[in-house]
């Protein structure tokens, strides 16, 4: 079988895998976003108990390897008699894990906003919820876009770990193709690496554009892009 022919014939399977990988990324990030914002708000504005709980949650989900979390959720559910599909287990494990990292991003951003902003909002008569919703979060989320792009890239790459519990994403499609077309494993896996690479950089570009679009004079973002997520 010619190389071009091989690539051509694997195309549909790789495309299906790519779609699943993107769906997983979207699901993990969304769950992580909602819970991450709540965790960050709890840590900054919640009482002592709430802040402690949130910080414990973060420590646990950041301290356990993603692969172990996937196993715990997948096999744990079965143990407790809950019937979770692999995809649901993956979304819970990886979404909660991402929320722990996202919370750190948002918390840092919230704390970098001058306390005068909150004071001015409360002085106008806004309650804590309104002040967070209309004054603090719009600023904090803008500051978060740059570090959040790291989280995006990390989550996208880590979807590959769902392979281990049997989710048919890009890596597993690759494995199937390798099994079908004996002797071309190097080519197939490099092809897959290229796909991940493209997805990562398209996303980063998109987020950079978003950041520019939402830019407000006076918000110079502290971009370093160094954190490993």
């Amino acid at each position: 079988m010619g190389l071009l022919n091989l690539i051509w014939s694997s195309f549909p399977a790789l495309l299906r895998g790519t779609v699943v990988t993107l769906e997983l990324t979207l699901a993990f990030l969304s769950l992580g976003l909602i819970i991450g914002i709540s965790l960050a708000l709890s840590r900054v504005y919640g009482g002592q108990v709430l802040a402690k709980l949130a910080s414990g949650f973060e420590q646990i989900f950041r301290g356990i390897p993603a692969l172990v979390l996937l196993f715990l959720f997948y096999f744990g559910a079965a143990e407790f008699g809950i019937n979770l599909s692999v995809v649901t287990a993956a979304i819970l494990a990886m979404g909660l894990r991402s929320s722990a990292y996202q919370s750190q991003i948002f918390r840092g951003a919230i704390q970098s906003i001058s306390s005068g902003q909150m004071m001015a909002a409360r002085a106008l008569g806004m309650n804590l919820y309104k002040a967070a919703r209309y004054i603090i979060l719009p600023q904090a989320l803008r500051f978060s876009i740059a570090p959040w792009s790291n989280e995006y890239a990390g989550v996208l790459k880590d979807t590959s770990l769902c392979y281990a519990i049997g989710v048919v994403e890009l890596m597993r499609q690759g494995r199937y193709i390798v099994a079908r077309t004996f002797g071309h494993s190097l080519l197939i896996y490099i092809l897959i690496a290229v796909i991940y690479f493209i997805l990562v950089y398209i996303g980063l570009k998109g987020l950079r554009l978003l950041e520019i679009r939402l830019h407000v004079p006076g918000f110079e973002t502290k971009r370093n892009g160094l954190e490993r997520i």
């Binding site: 420590q59 646990i60 950041r62 301290g63 356990i64 390897p65 993603a66 692969l67 172990v68 979390l69 196993f71 715990l72 096999f75 744990g76 079965a78 143990e79 407790f80 008699g81 750190q104 890239a153 790459k157 880590d158 590959s160 770990l161 392979y163 281990a164 890596m171 690759g174 390798v178 002797g183 071309h184 494993s185 190097l186 080519l187 197939i188 896996y189 490099i190 897959i192 690496a193 991940y196 690479f197 990562v200 950089y201 370093n224 892009g225 160094l226 954190e227 490993r228």
Partner: protein, 225 residues
């Protein structure tokens, strides 16, 4: 349903933990060496060196570690190169970590004021001497927080080596699970082992960081694990 644990699991898990430890130490070391070279290439290199090291960093940061390990372990045999699992994992993780460490070092080299290099050269040092005696000692200290972070990351990510048959902690957990059918309990123990090491390690590294802090050198912003 009730949870069942057994002390009998510990010897095997201990054996796995030792492999996890070896894997982490070897790959962080390879990554350290590579990271320093790459960061110097990106800051002081000529155009081709700069482009090459940038390309390396982008490729390794832009693709999953699992894919990189699969290329080494399942991919290379198709062109006649067979690597044993442990070696493949150490190489893969080392190459991967090198890309991240390069970014930490580059960041800290760039925060060192240009005056340091000028002053060193004014003393008559060659560029290499200036890098070795003046720039790197400062840059490496500045990078301790992100480097600690990287060590902890690598420790956790070494679990991925299980997917290419390296008998580390995760792998041994799987072995016990398949014998006892107590998958959840076994991985709960595995999770606690990782968690304990990660927490202890971050405390230790935090102490190390305070120890090596030099008054007035850089910021001390700690990137949390």
């Amino acid at each position: 349903m009730s949870l069942v644990f057994s002390w009998g699991w510990l010897p095997l898990l201990g054996k796995g933990a030792l492999v996890t430890f070896e894997l982490t130490v070897l790959s962080i070391s390879i990554g350290l060496f590579l990271g320093i070279l790459l960061s110097l290439g990106r800051v002081y290199g000529n155009k081709p060196v700069y482009l090459l090291s940038s390309f390396y960093v982008q490729v390794f940061r832009g693709t999953p570690l699992l894919t990189q390990l699969f290329i080494l372990y399942f991919g290379l045999p198709s062109v006649g190169i067979m690597l044993p699992p442990f070696l493949a994992a150490v190489i893969g993780m080392g190459l991967n970590s090198g890309a991240y460490q390069a970014e930490y070092f580059r960041g800290s080299i760039q925060t060192i004021r240009g005056g340091q290099m000028v002053a060193a050269r004014a003393l008559g040092m060659s560029q290499w001497q200036a890098i070795k005696y003046i720039i790197l000692p400062q840059a490496l200290r500045l990078a301790i927080p992100s480097w600690s972070n990287e060590l902890i990351y690598l420790l956790k990510y070494s679990s991925i080596a299980y997917m290419i048959q390296v008998p580390e902690l995760m792998f041994e957990g799987r072995v016990i699970a398949s014998q006892t059918f107590r998958t959840f309990e076994v991985f709960l123990v595995v999770a606690l082992m990782y968690l304990a090491v990660v927490i202890v390690l971050s405390q230790l590294l935090g102490a190390l960081e305070r120890r090596f802090k030099i008054p007035g050198l850089g910021r001390s912003g700690r990137i949390l694990t």
